[in-house]
């Protein structure tokens, strides 16, 4: 009932007021006016968006590489690819026992209190589980790489060397087991929260993070010069799973509740990341362009981790998403 502003309209209003005693009708929408036009309480966020900064997506990226490198190292040891096993264990130790803890500690509000993480063991807190997984992983990966190097270079005599090779095997096995958890728990970490776009995809996230970790580890080892068919096979597997996840994500939409994944800059990050480590990496690998496929996968895996944290910030600041997510 947007009547034009005219003398005639004013006469109408006067007439109506005289006859009915009240004039119901639209007023003027004042920008910033007192009538709430925003969802919820003045559009204020209902849940809090994550406070995490650039360290966390980078940690997800390196943690994934470290964990799954140990898996590749374990398989390489089993099938006697010693050089590959050494490279993979070095990756696992550097990314998992050096870079990851540094990034995690940097992200803390009070880095000097980081040891308080080891005060308790709480299976219901994924953050606590993650810290223990990372600790266990480092405890296996560092002795694992040392034992493997000492054994490879035949530093000690026969008996001690046999012991070393046995120890290396045990530590690498341990690193592989904790490594798979290190690469996947990060999906649980953000999946089991109050952020709608995250918890609605809590089953997809660990699959995505773990598989992206496996593909990234293989890709990085390939770029370091280990061009063997086993890594190429892993590359195919990871890119194929990521392509399936891209399809899953575009089919399994929840409307307003997870719009942060499909709209805004955060949506573009997810899409670009998933295309790079899904279909594009698959096609490049299919045509034998292994280094390009590896680079595409690595960049995609990194962008998608940044994207998922960005999604959390957008989704957590969006009150409508929280209300809408309660239907699921």
């Amino acid at each position: 009932m947007d009547a034009p502003a005219s003398e005639k309209r004013l006469e109408q209003l006067r007439e109506k007021a005289w006859q009915e005693g009240v004039v119901p009708g639209r007023g003027v929408d004042v920008v910033g006016g007192p009538i709430p036009r925003k969802p919820g309480y003045y559009g204020e966020p209902v849940v809090k968006p994550p406070v995490w900064t650039w360290e966390i997506p980078l940690y997800f990226f390196f943690g994934g590489i470290a964990g799954m490198s140990a898996v590749i190292a374990f398989a390489a040891v089993l099938f006697h690819h010693v050089d590959l096993a050494r490279a993979a264990m070095w990756l696992a130790a550097i990314a998992g026992a050096v870079l990851s803890p540094i990034l995690l500690i940097m992200d803390l509000g009070r880095p000097h209190l980081f040891l308080n993480m080891l005060r308790v063991f709480k299976h219901r807190s994924t953050m606590s589980m993650g810290v223990w997984i990372l600790t266990a992983f480092g405890t296996c990966a560092v002795p694992g790489v040392i034992a493997l190097e000492l054994h490879t270079h035949q530093i000690f005599t026969s008996t001690l060397d046999q012991l070393l090779s046995f120890a290396a095997g045990i530590f690498i096995f341990g690193a592989a087991i904790f490594g798979t958890l290190l690469a996947t728990y990060t999906g649980v970490l953000i999946g089991a929260t109050a952020i709608p776009a995250w918890f609605l995809h809590r089953t997809l996230l660990p699959i995505h993070f773990g598989t992206a970790g496996l593909g990234s580890a293989a890709a990085l080892l390939e770029l370091l010069g280990h061009r063997i068919s086993a890594l190429n096979f892993i590359g195919f597997y990871a890119a194929a799973v990521e392509t399936a996840l891209l399809i899953w994500l575009s089919v399994d939409k929840h409307g307003v509740a997870d719009r942060a994944i499909h709209e805004h800059g955060s949506g573009w990050l997810i899409r670009i990341g998933e295309v790079l480590n899904g279909p594009l990496a698959l096609i490049l690998r299919f045509f034998g362009l292994v280094p390009l496929a590896a680079i595409s996968f690595l960049i995609g895996a990194l962008i998608s981790r940044v994207g998922w944290i960005a999604v959390g910030k957008v989704s957590g600041s969006d009150p409508e998403s929280v209300f809408a997510a309660e239907r699921y």
Binding site: P36, Y41, N116, M117, K122, T180, T184, A192, S229, A230
Partner: protein, 289 residues
């Protein structure tokens, strides 16, 4: 209740901490006058720093939302019950009894959930449950990992940014645990001039809340309801509210869930991925050897 003077549960001394009695806040917007004494008392007693002076333009609310440095927040809800359009004039003049606008004040606070997302998420054990059932952050233990922030279904707890004092740690309402240990009532309840905030035994307050809802419904406030999500995984809150209208208008989630309910499906996916990755890697090496 008001009129009881020093016998009111808001003023008299107690020994709830020593007796392990579950306590609570019942906040009733129908008697709130929006004076913000609770916000001031909370800041002063707990030495909560100011987090900026910003004009929001949202009614008289320049506080915005609960956070690391805002533990009580008086909301000024302007409800337009003729949803969608602005109404000129007042219907109540013509006698149909419906005010097109309603101005509701509600003092928001940490809900102190029965199943608290922040407490479950805390990896340092900094967040604990006290004898009176409240949820307390031990500031000297918290290392500021930020996981509680995304685990609270009500968006209450937050990490305090620099350069504020005690920056980097997570903060929220303490239910004035220090005062309660000494038999004193939380600062906000103590200063509330209309006893819109009532402190007391949780079971007493829940009964009182029900009574108040019936009273209001009988006098024409048909949309009065209690906000105490006992049927969701949060399993009830220690600081519960009376609401006029729907929870969304107050920025409260109608069905809050504690995020730990998502753990099972997420970990299942994680373990499945872990096993699939090991098998894929072993198969890759087996076939290429």
């Amino acid at each position: 209740m008001i009129g009881e003077g020093t016998h009111s549960t808001n003023q008299r001394r107690h020994a709830y901490v020593q007796e392990n009695v579950e306590v609570g806040f019942f906040t009733d917007p129908t008697v709130c006058i929006g004076c913000k004494a609770c916000e001031v008392a909370c800041k002063e007693w707990n030495h909560v720093p100011d987090d900026g002076f910003v004009w929001s333009g949202n009614s008289y609310d320049n506080t915005g939302h609960l956070g690391a440095s805002t533990w009580r927040h008086v909301m000024f809800v302007e409800q337009d019950r003729q949803k969608g359009g602005q109404i000129v004039g007042s219907y109540s003049v013509t006698g149909n009894g419906e005010d097109p606008f309603r101005w509701v004040f509600l003092s928001d606070v940490c809900k102190h959930c029965e199943e608290a997302g922040c407490l479950e998420a805390c990896p340092t054990g900094s967040i604990v449950r006290t004898e009176v059932g409240s949820v307390l952050v031990q500031n000297d233990v918290c290392n500021g990992c930020g996981y509680c922030v995304v685990s609270c279904p009500f968006g209450v707890i937050d990490r305090r940014p620099s350069p504020l004092p005690d920056a980097g740690g997570a903060f929220k309402c303490t239910f004035c645990y220090d005062r309660q240990k000494s038999g004193l009532v939380p600062a906000c309840a103590k200063v509330c001039p209309t006893e819109s905030i009532v402190f007391g035994r949780l079971d007493d307050l829940r009964a009182k809340g029900q009574q108040r809802v019936h009273q209001l419904r009988e006098t024409g406030y048909t949309d009065a309801q209690l906000y105490d999500p006992q049927e969701t995984s949060v399993r009830g809150i220690h600081a519960f509210f009376l609401l006029l209208g729907e929870p969304e208008a107050y920025g409260l989630p109608p069905k809050p869930q504690v995020p730990t309910i998502y753990l099972k499906s997420a970990w299942t996916a994680a373990f499945a991925t872990a096993i699939a990755s090991i098998i894929a890697t072993l198969v890759a090496f087996a076939f290429s050897s």
